[in-house]
Symmetry: C2
Subunit: 203 residues, 2 copies
C-alpha cells in the first residue's frame, strides 16, 4: 500500500498508477486538481516538506516516509519484480531509458501537451514551442528506430522503462505530434496496452 | 576497465571520471573535443550506434556493449560499492536525486554554463536565459535547504547522488551563478572535494 500525491492528468503520476495496477500494489490517491496546481498548492510548507521541489507525484510510504520523482518511485516499487531486471546490465539499461525519458522526452512531449491541452503557452515563452516540438520529434525518432528492432525497450520484455515512456508517448497526439509517422511506436503502444493489469490514464 | 567516450568540459562526463577515480575502476578516455562536438561528430552513424541520442558520455564495457546516460553509468559502476546503498529506500533516494539532477538542475545550471562559457547563447533563444537562470537558482535553493540539515544528500554518507550533483554545481559560477549566497552548498562542495580519491574536472 502506498499513498500517491498526484494529479490525474499528469503522465508522471499515471506511470506510478500503471505500475501499481500491473504488480498489484494497493494505491490510495490524494488528488491535486489542475486548479490546485495553478493556485500553487504544491508550494505550501506542508507540500514542500514532502518534496522540496514542489511537484507531483510524491509517494508516501506506509511508514510515513516520502519519495518524490516518478521514475525513482517506479524503481522503488519494481524492485524484486519482473519489471526491474536482476541482471546488472539490463538494470542499467532500464535506468538509461528512465533518464532519457526525463531529459530528452518529457520536457518536450509532455510540456508541449501541457501547454496545448491544459495550461496554454506561458507568456513570453512562445519562441520555445517550435524548439520543444522539434526535440519531441527527435525523441520519437529515437523511439521509432529502437522499437523497429525490438518488442520492448530492454531485455525483450515489459519493464518500467516501457511504463515510464508509455505514459506521455500514448498521449503525445494531445500535444499535436503527428503519431501516424511512427508505426513501430504505435505497435509498441498497443503491445503495452495489452499487458496484464493495464489501466488507462483516466481510470 | 571501461572506455569512456566523452568531452573533458562536460560535467556529465566528469561524473563518471570522478566515480571511477573514487572506486578505483581503470578508465580509458576517448575524447571528443569541443570542435568535434560543434562539427556534429556525435551524430555520425558510428556514434549513433553507441548512443541513438547522439550525446556523450557513453561507456563502452569490456564486452563491447554500450551504456549511455551519465547517471545510468554511475548506477551501473557503483553497484555493490558503498556509493550506491543496499537499503531499498536509500537506493530510491539516490535515484530520486539523480533524476532531480537531470530534470531540475542540469538543464539550468549546466546549460547556462555551456552558453556563457563555451558555446554562446544559440540564436533566437536569448529569451530562455533568464528563465534558465531563475530555475538554476531554484535548484540551488533546494540544495541549500537540504544541505543545511545534512552532510550528504542521502543516508548521511557520500554516494553517487553527491557525485552527480557536485559535477555541475562546483562549476556553476562559470555560468554566472552567485554561489556566495549558498554557504551550506559551499561547505558540501568542500566536503566532497575532500573525499578519498577525488579528482578535479580538468585532471
Amino acid at each position: 500500500m502506498i499513498t500517491l500525491h498526484e494529479t490525474a492528468l499528469s503522465g508522471n503520476c499515471y506511470k506510478v498508477r500503471l505500475l501499481c495496477a500491473v504488480i498489484g500494489v494497493p494505491l490510495r490517491r490524494v488528488e491535486l486538481d489542475i486548479d490546485a496546481l495553478k493556485a500553487g498548492k504544491t508550494h505550501t510548507d506542508e507540500f514542500l516538506a514532502m518534496n522540496p521541489e514542489g511537484r507531483v507525484p510524491v509517494a508516501e510510504l506506509d511508514d510515513g516516509r516520502f519519495l518524490p520523482e516518478s521514475n525513482a518511485i517506479l524503481a522503488y516499487l519494481a524492485e524484486r519484480t519482473p519489471y526491474l531486471p536482476e541482471d546488472r546490465f539490463d538494470r542499467a539499461q532500464v535506468l538509461r531509458w528512465l533518464f532519457w525519458e526525463q531529459y530528452s522526452h518529457e520536457p518536450y512531449i509532455a510540456v508541449v501537451r501541457a501547454w496545448r491541452t491544459y495550461f496554454g503557452i506561458p507568456a513570453g515563452r512562445e519562441s520555445e514551442l517550435p524548439i520543444r516540438e522539434a526535440r519531441g520529434y527527435a525523441a520519437l525518432d529515437v523511439l521509432e528506430r529502437t522499437l523497429a528492432r525490438q518488442q520492448f525497450l530492454v531485455a525483450e520484455r515489459y519493464t518500467i522503462a516501457d511504463i515510464a515512456i508509455y505514459a506521455y508517448t500514448h498521449v503525445a497526439h494531445e500535444g499535436g505530434f503527428a503519431m501516424e509517422r511512427y508505426p513501430a511506436v504505435a505497435a509498441w503502444l498497443a503491445r503495452v496496452a495489452a499487458q496484464p493489469g493495464h489501466v488507462p490514464i483516466d481510470a
